[in-house]
Structure formats: C-alpha cells, structure tokens
C-alpha cells in the first residue's frame, strides 16, 4: 500500500561499494539529486541508528542483504551496474517501499528575523494567506504552497527588506546582503498604505459597521480592488510580478473578503 511522506528519500552510499569508479559515483549521485533524493556518502558502514534508520532510506551494498545488520529500509546492490541501471534499481526499491513524496512548491518567502520589525505589512498585503502569526504574535510564513510562483511582491512591500525568495534572480531578495543603496532605492520602500489608498481595511470596516447601502459597499470593494491593482501594476512595472499573477487575481468580492481576513489577523497580531 502506498502512503505519502513529507520527508525526502535518502540513499546511503557507504565506502564498501567504492570499487565503483568515481565517474559512476558522480553520475549516479547527480542523477539521484535531480530526482529529489538525498545521498549520504559514508566512510564507514551505516550504524543502523539515528535518522538513517528511517523507512525512507535505501542502502547501497555490494553484499547480499542477509549479510548486513538487520536495519529497516531497502537494499540495492551496485554490483555490475552502470549509473542508469543503478538509478533504475533505486527507483524500483523506492516503489517497493510504497512511499510517495508529498508535492511541494519551490517558490516561497523566507523571513530574515534579524531585519523584521513585525510590522505585519506582508500579512496585510498578501491575498493568498501565505503569512500568519505564531503563538507569540510573531509574523510567520505559514502556507508556503499558497505563494504564487515567481511573484516576489511581498518582498517589495516589506520596508525592512526582510523577505527573501532564495531562488530569485537578484539581490537582496535572493538572500544577498542588503546594502544601504538597496534601502535607498525607491522600490525597496513601497509604502503599503499609500499603495492601498490610505488604510483601506480600516475604512472598509468602519463603513460596513455603519451598515452602508449595497451601492456603497460595491464602491468600497471596487476601490479596494482598484487600489490593489494599481499597486500590483506599479510592482509589475518594476519587472517583478509575472503577468500570470496579475491575470489570476481573484474577483473583487474575493479580494475584499481575503483582504479583510488578513487585516483582522494583522490587527489581532498587533494587539489592536
């Protein structure tokens, strides 16, 4: 029976199989890494303890399995195999373990808490619920997979340049040091309140409390949408926001609902 795991598969490559050529090692390991495996090169036999004793582990050997200590996991013999045959055999062993790695998205924000001031602008800005707060009301990335691929907009609204996307092309968003010049650059200082046309969330809350007419509610959500679009277009003009993200913006109603949700979370986190 197959079941999904949130751990990567680890291939343990002890030195007992080192009669294989360095070239075979390199080609096999490179190919395994491309396929999402981790590889542990060991200069001694695996001890059969700690994290290598996981059901996600495949051990390479030149011996038959019954000559090895009884540790969990699968064994694959390297004997007589070229790198293609070896990787195929490892893939086969993985299938026989019945484990399927859960999907993940390689694009998500990472917060540099040395810079972050917990201002909650990212939480207020993101429409996709990527951000949340921990028990101590500290900003946190909570839903990595909701992030829109190749969209670094929240790192542009962070006034402290504290949000990184490690796979982004340029610094400081990719994790490079933040220079004084970066901080001076206009695009690093996008002011979210001006982008959103004043405190749009507060305004929406007050107005809805006053039980406005259907017409004015529509105007409010329209305004929220317009302001957000203006903001996103401004960011898009800086060459950062992929057109697909702009195209896939939710409906005005949905934007309003999500913006209010984010604002409530941010206000609660600030202790308002």
């Amino acid at each position: 029976m197959a079941f999904s795991s949130n751990e990567t598969f680890n291939v343990v490559w002890p030195d007992e199989v080192d009669c294989s050529s360095p070239e075979l090692r390199f080609q096999s390991i490179a190919s395994l890494l491309e396929k999402g495996y981790s590889v542990s090169r060991k200069t001694g036999l695996p001890e059969g303890n700690g994290l290598t004793e996981s059901q996600n582990t495949i051990f390479l050997t030149e011996k038959s399995a019954n000559e090895l200590p009884s540790i969990r996991g699968a064994y694959v013999s390297t004997r007589g195999k070229n790198s293609v045959a070896l990787v195929d055999a490892i893939e086969g062993a993985k299938s026989s373990l019945g484990l399927i790695k859960r999907e993940w998205k390689p694009w998500f924000p990472v917060i540099d808490y040395d810079r972050c001031t917990n201002c909650m602008q990212c939480l207020s800005f993101c429409l996709f619920g990527v951000y949340g707060v921990d028990d101590g009301r500290r900003i946190q990335v909570q839903n990595n997979d909701n992030c829109k691929t190749n969209c670094p907009a929240c790192s542009r609204v962070c006034p402290e340049a504290a949000i990184m996307f490690p796979k982004y092309k340029a610094g400081p968003i990719n994790g490079d040091n933040v220079s004084d010049e970066d901080m001076r650059r206009e695009k690093m200082k996008v002011d979210i309140s001006s982008l959103l046309g004043g405190d749009i969330y507060q305004m929406l809350r007050v107005r809805s409390e006053r039980a406005k007419s259907r017409f004015s509610k529509e105007r409010d959500s329209e305004k929220a949408l317009n302001e957000r679009q203006k903001c996103l277009i401004k960011l898009a003009e800086s060459g950062d926001i992929p057109a697909e993200v702009l195209m896939s913006l939710p409906s005005p109603e949905e934007i309003k609902r999500r913006a209010e949700e984010a604002a409530v979370k941010a206000a609660a986190a600030r202790g308002n």
């Binding site: 949130n6 751990e7 990567t8 680890n10 030195d15 080192d18 360095p22 090692r25 390199f26 390991i29 490179a30 395994l32 890494l33 491309e34 396929k35 999402g36 495996y37 981790s38 590889v39 542990s40 090169r41 060991k42 200069t43 700690g50 994290l51 996981s54 859960r102 993940w104 998205k105 390689p106 998500f108 990472v110 917060i111 540099d112 808490y113 040395d114 810079r115 972050c116 990335v141 990595n144 990184m164 490690p166 796979k167 982004y168 092309k169 610094g171 990719n174 994790g175 490079d176 040091n177």
Partner: protein, 128 residues
C-alpha cells in the same frame, strides 16, 4: 581534530546556481573519497521541515555548499532548526568560482560566516 562535515546542495528546482559550479563541486566531492551529505534542494528540506536539517545541525562543524549565507540561515530557521554560528561556513556557489568553491569546501579549516543579527541566537544558547 576532526575535519568539518560537508553538506552539498544541488539546488535541483532552479537554475540559480551555475551548472558548471554545481557539477565541479559535486565531482570533486565524489572523486575525493570524503564523507558528505548531498541534498537535492535545501529549500525543499526547509519547506518540508525535513529531519535531515536536524541531522545537519547536530554534525558539529559543518561546511555547506549552497547559496547566500543569509538565505541558508533562515531556511534552516524556518524549519525550526538553529545552527551554532561558530561552527558553520556557507560556501556560496552562486557567487564563487568552481575552483574557489572546491578549495573552500575541501579546506580542513572552517571560516564561520553564519550571519549574526539581533534575532539570531547567541552561540551558547543554540539548541540542536
């Protein structure tokens, strides 16, 4: 004295580390016969909060061939894993030449470069 442990990140899901550098570093590791941990993508381990990160944190002195030290530090942190700043050297394969990256990695001396700032744990407070 034990040599620092070696961790290599293959950055498999993006083209941000030059292929030539990645291949040269991995080849050098494979040829050298040293022990190392090769990971497909450290970002993936962070996103999954994979226990491999804890294993790396418990290795003692470690050299990590990946990308910018600031990104690597907060990727570990995002997964709830802190490393001892005095015991980590990150080799940035995005900016170093393949020769420089290989020689830094194989050098038995460690040159710690883990960024330390206001929110970073002090070395003596580090928990693995």
């Amino acid at each position: 004295m034990n040599s620092p442990k070696i961790v290599y990140c293959h950055c498999a899901y993006a083209q941000v580390v030059p292929r030539e550098t990645k291949e040269a570093v991995l080849k050098r590791l494979c040829d050298s016969g040293v022990e190392f941990e090769a990971t497909s993508d450290l970002c993936e381990l962070s996103a999954r909060k994979d226990p491999v990160l804890l294993k790396i944190a418990s290795m003692g002195e470690v050299k990590i061939a990946a990308c910018f030290p600031r990104a690597v530090k907060w990727l570990f942190s995002a997964a709830g894993t802190e490393l001892d700043p005095a015991k980590v050297q990150v080799i940035n394969m995005r900016t170093e030449s393949s020769e420089a990256a290989c020689s830094m990695l194989m050098d038995p001396q460690i040159v710690p470069n883990w960024p330390i700032g206001k929110a970073s744990p002090k070395p003596e407070l580090v928990e693995n």
